[in-house]
């Protein structure tokens, strides 16, 4: 009995300690922001790694998500004789929800995992400690550029995702099914607004980029310095980012579109 209570207490304390470490790490990363702006070369390198290299998967997924949304939207709406609204449905779904969320999930798998593994391995092979020996701050040199690259890349990728998805919906509903192109665009333009839908979607994607970068780097930085520890940290990074994105998405939707 006492043992069970002790176990519960230990877990709570461990959880709180982990959270505290993560917050402190974030504060140190944010403090390195001026350094990143002053020397953007590191940031550009990381933008290439997490952004440019994620482009292909984002473009392909967005196209197929758009195609499927157009098709399913049509099948559902045609029963009500409202198939002209398929453009509205595709655009609102993508801009408000699927664009930011699916981008963040794909980003966690494609780029977040590699960030965690890279930083974890740097720690396991004691590259981070040797940097400290040489009076180079690993948070400034390694973590900050990677974090800000994720923060910048996710909103850009999400915007690309939504735009390509809307185009995919257009291909299916106008090209394949034969809905009037004017109805597709004009219904969409009547329903979607910049300040409500597109701005809120962009805010969501910034939040998700923050989360994805933060969790991935924290898991890598705190990984047990063994090969199994790094592999575990990589898995946990992707799982926790996905859960955090999905949970926070519900909260943000309730706040924004309530």
């Amino acid at each position: 009995m006492i043992g069970a209570i002790q176990g519960l207490g230990r877990r709570t304390l461990d959880g709180l300690r982990g959270l505290g470490e993560a917050v402190l790490l974030m504060l140190r990363i944010l403090r390195a922001a001026p350094e990143v702006v002053r020397r953007p070369r590191l940031l550009i390198e990381q933008l290439y790694v997490v952004g440019v290299l994620s482009l292909v998967i984002i473009l392909v997924s967005a196209l197929f998500v758009g195609l499927v949304l157009g098709l399913q939207g049509y099948y559902t709406l045609v029963d009500f004789g409202a198939e002209d609204a398929v453009g509205t449905m595709v655009a609102l779904t993508l801009v408000r929800e699927l664009g930011p969320v699916v981008t963040a999930l794909l980003f966690a798998g494609r780029a977040g995992s590699s960030l965690t593994a890279e930083v974890g391995l740097m720690k396991a092979t004691e590259q981070l400690s040797s940097m400290e020996m040489m009076a180079v701050d690993p948070e400034r040199r390694i973590l900050a550029p990677r974090f800000f690259a994720a923060l910048l890349a996710v909103p850009l990728l999400a915007a690309i995702f939504s735009a390509v998805g809307v185009f995919g919906g257009y291909l299916v509903s106008v090209g394949m099914i034969g809905i009037d192109a004017g109805a597709y665009w004009s219904n969409m333009q009547n329903a979607v607004t910049v300040q409500d839908d597109i701005l809120n979607g962009a805010i969501k994607s910034v939040v998700f980029g923050f989360l994805a970068g933060w969790i991935a780097l924290h898991k890598g930085y705190m990984a047990t310095p063994t090969s199994s520890g790094v592999s575990r940290a990589t898995t946990m990074g992707v799982v926790h980012t996905s859960l955090a994105v999905l949970g926070l998405d519900f909260l943000l939707t309730a706040l924004m579109f309530g």
Partner: protein, 151 residues
């Protein structure tokens, strides 16, 4: 990979991302349409506008001629004050034109339909459409039907 190539790719990526935002703002939300057409404003009062919303289309003989710019309640007459924005190229609409609120399809959006009058004088900026017909509210229709039944 050389630094130059990395920078080119990142530049392309950022440009593509910004282009994505631009497409969303202009093509998807129709921001371009707002500044595209110069137009003039015409006011109309309705007893009941039903589910009419701002940015709803204004059409004449089924052709889109403008959009609903603003909807507010007139505090004195307790009527809905609807400001319509008609595209400039349709500047020969007679002054005795009437406006009604219709629904497109069974469940579709509501829009303002204009019915041309016969006068030679045409509507201009700031003019008012006097003959208006409210939206058909389904509950009210059913209510009237039920009271008739009871008689």
């Amino acid at each position: 990979m050389s630094q130059r190539l990395v920078e080119i790719w990142v530049g392309l990526f950022v440009a593509l991302g910004l282009a994505g935002f631009l497409v969303l703002a202009l093509q998807v939300s129709g921001l371009a349409e707002i500044r595209q057409q110069p137009g003039y404003q015409v006011a109309a009062s309705f007893d009941n506008i039903g589910g009419l919303r701002e940015r709803a289309p204004v059409s004449m003989a089924g052709v889109r001629v403008g959009k609903v710019e603003r909807i507010e309640l007139n505090p004195e007459s307790h009527q809905a004050e609807v400001i319509l924005r008609i595209d400039q190229r349709y500047d020969r609409i007679p002054v005795d034109t009437s406006a009604a609120i219709y629904t497109s399809g069974l469940l579709g959006e509501q829009y303002v339909g204009l019915e041309a009058g016969w006068e030679d004088e045409t509507l201009g900026s700031g003019d008012r459409i006097t003959q208006t017909q409210s939206a058909v509210v389904l509950e009210r229709l059913i209510g009237q039907f039920l009271t008739r039944m009871q008689d």
